[in-house]
């Protein structure tokens, strides 16, 4: 089951590890990505802090950590080919896996219906 943040990230939980990416809406708004900067495995991230960067032809944007936790895996495929984020944002375009400090914090995030209502 996907959860969503107001910053247009999605999370998919497996045990206490959440796979994190950006939504199709966010990918569409950013436009074709030409660069993705990923965190390092082992990095501790805090909710709302910058965890990754993405760059389109025109602009740079931060991808925020959706919750507190530790980076346990990164998707090197999107660093090699940023267009994966545009073509398959909810699948092959994932960014990193985050071992959640508090699994319960996930409950506060939006479900798909709430996210869809937010982006309109």
């Amino acid at each position: 089951m996907f959860k969503f943040t107001e910053e247009h990230e999605w999370l998919k939980l497996d045990g206490d590890v959440a796979t994190v990416g950006i939504t199709a809406h966010a990918a569409e708004q950013l436009g074709d990505l030409v660069f993705v900067g990923l965190p390092a495995v082992g990095d501790q991230v805090e909710k709302g802090g910058s965890a990754a960067t993405v760059e389109s032809v025109k602009a740079a944007s931060d991808i925020y950590a959706p919750l507190d936790g530790e980076i346990v895996a990164i998707n090197d495929a999107i660093a090699a080919d940023p267009s994966l984020v545009n073509s398959d944002p909810l699948g092959g375009g994932w960014f990193f896996k985050l071992k959640l400090k508090d699994k319960g914090a996930l409950d506060a995030l939006m479900d798909e219906a709430a996210y869809k209502a937010m982006v309109g």
């Binding site: 436009g31 074709d32 030409v34 660069f35 960067t53 760059e55 389109s56 032809v57 025109k58 740079a60």
Partner: protein
């Protein structure tokens, strides 16, 4: 929803004659220089950029200023000499039906705006930047009103750029095909006067076409109906000009940069330089002529970043990764889709303004190595005839 406060604090955005069509084409509109302009169309900046270099792109640049300068005496040379008092460019020597690039300078040699100047037989036509056009008009009126009538032309302006531009525009106006780079001509198309120049700001062959407001949408629809012509937004216009090594006023050139610092000496013809027949006589001539002879302490260069991450305008430059004093800055930068790599321009000390010299940029706390590179990044393909 707009509030009363918005109505008083947000000035109404102006619209070009192609605004409705830009919306119909799916343009993502943004405020730019007081106009509601398409930054991109549904294809997106990357594909629009590549399409322009591969086929042809059509740009609405109607936000730019079009100004006619007519000599009160009826003798064009009087208008040319008057304009030469504001630009360090040979205008009197500009042939009829020819256009050239120039800039208004200030008393310290800085660049107030850059512009195109066309000799149209009985008058001069200037194309100036949208953000500067009101100031440019005031500047012209202040200094040239005694000798010239100054008229702002309320016309649309489009650019058609790319290898497919010539064949496409020839369908609309066949005489365009025989024009050379920087030729300017008036052509009658379905009863309207089109002012066509073979020029542009992408590094590609192409045209800029001034069209009466009421005919603009019809013209653009006709061009877009031709195979291979796509609408292109301001986003790709910026990445195209960056790859072409062309300056953006307000970023790469400003009131605080001189033409010599900006590596624009080529636009100052010998007749306006020391020893020339009409040397000097423009604002800041002492500074600019001195720099032409003795050089300036810094220079605009192309900069290629290590890796794939773009280094954007505003990034500080250092001599070494250890930091130390800031030695320069990036003035515009992004990703070059044709180059398939980051591209940037910026100012470095003249000693470092050699291809192969290295500097280090600060990208939000991260050090990125950059190599000084000759401009343009992508070779120009102008039709010089």
């Amino acid at each position: 929803m707009a509030s009363a406060a918005d109505a008083t604090t947000t000035p109404e955005l102006k619209r070009t004659p192609l605004h409705a069509l830009n919306l119909e084409l799916g343009g993502r509109m943004v405020p730019f220089a007081g106009y509601d302009m398409p930054v991109q169309f549904p294809a997106g900046v990357l594909k629009e950029h590549l399409h322009t270099r591969d086929a042809a792109g059509l740009f609405d640049v109607s936000h730019m200023g079009q100004i006619a300068l007519r000599p009160k005496s009826g003798n064009l040379r009087d208008a040319a000499l008057a304009l030469e008092s504001l630009v360090p460019v040979d205008i009197a020597g500009l042939g009829e039906g020819r256009q050239r690039y120039g800039f208004f300078t200030n008393e310290s040699g800085g660049i107030l705006d850059d512009l195109m100047i066309a000799s149209r037989g009985d008058h001069l036509m200037l194309i100036v930047n949208a953000a500067c056009k009101d100031a440019d008009e005031a500047h012209l009126r202040k200094h040239l009103s005694a000798s010239c009538d100054i008229t702002v032309l309320d016309r649309a302006l489009i650019a058609l750029q790319g290898p497919g531009a010539a064949a496409a525009v020839a369908i609309l106006a066949p005489p365009c095909a025989s024009m050379r780079f920087m030729d300017v001509a008036s052509l009658t198309v379905v009863g309207a006067e089109y002012i066509v120049s073979r020029s542009g700001y992408t590094g590609e062959d192409g045209y800029e076409i001034s069209i009466p407001r009421d005919h603009a949408e019809h013209a653009v629809r006709a061009l877009l109906a031709i195979d291979g012509i796509a609408p292109i937004g301001l986003g790709a216009r910026d990445s195209l000009r960056l790859e072409a090594g062309l300056c953006l006023h307000g970023a790469d050139i400003t009131e605080a940069t001189t033409p010599v610092e900006a590596a624009l000496e080529w636009a100052i013809q010998p007749v306006r330089r020391t020893g020339g027949e009409r040397a000097g006589g423009f604002p800041g001539a002492d500074v600019i002529l001195d720099q032409l002879s003795n050089g300036a302490s810094r220079r605009r260069v192309g900069l290629k970043a290590e890796g794939r991450q773009p280094v954007r305008g505003g990034a500080a430059l250092y001599a070494s990764p250890d930091g130390g004093d800031v030695i320069g800055s990036v003035t515009s930068g992004g990703f070059g889709p044709t180059l398939n790599a980051p591209a940037a321009m910026g100012y470095v000390p003249t000693a470092l303004a050699q291809p192969g010299a290295t500097v280090v940029a600060d990208v939000r706390g991260k050090r990125v190595g950059m190599t000084v590179t000759k401009l343009p990044f992508v070779p120009a393909r102008f039709h010089r005839g």
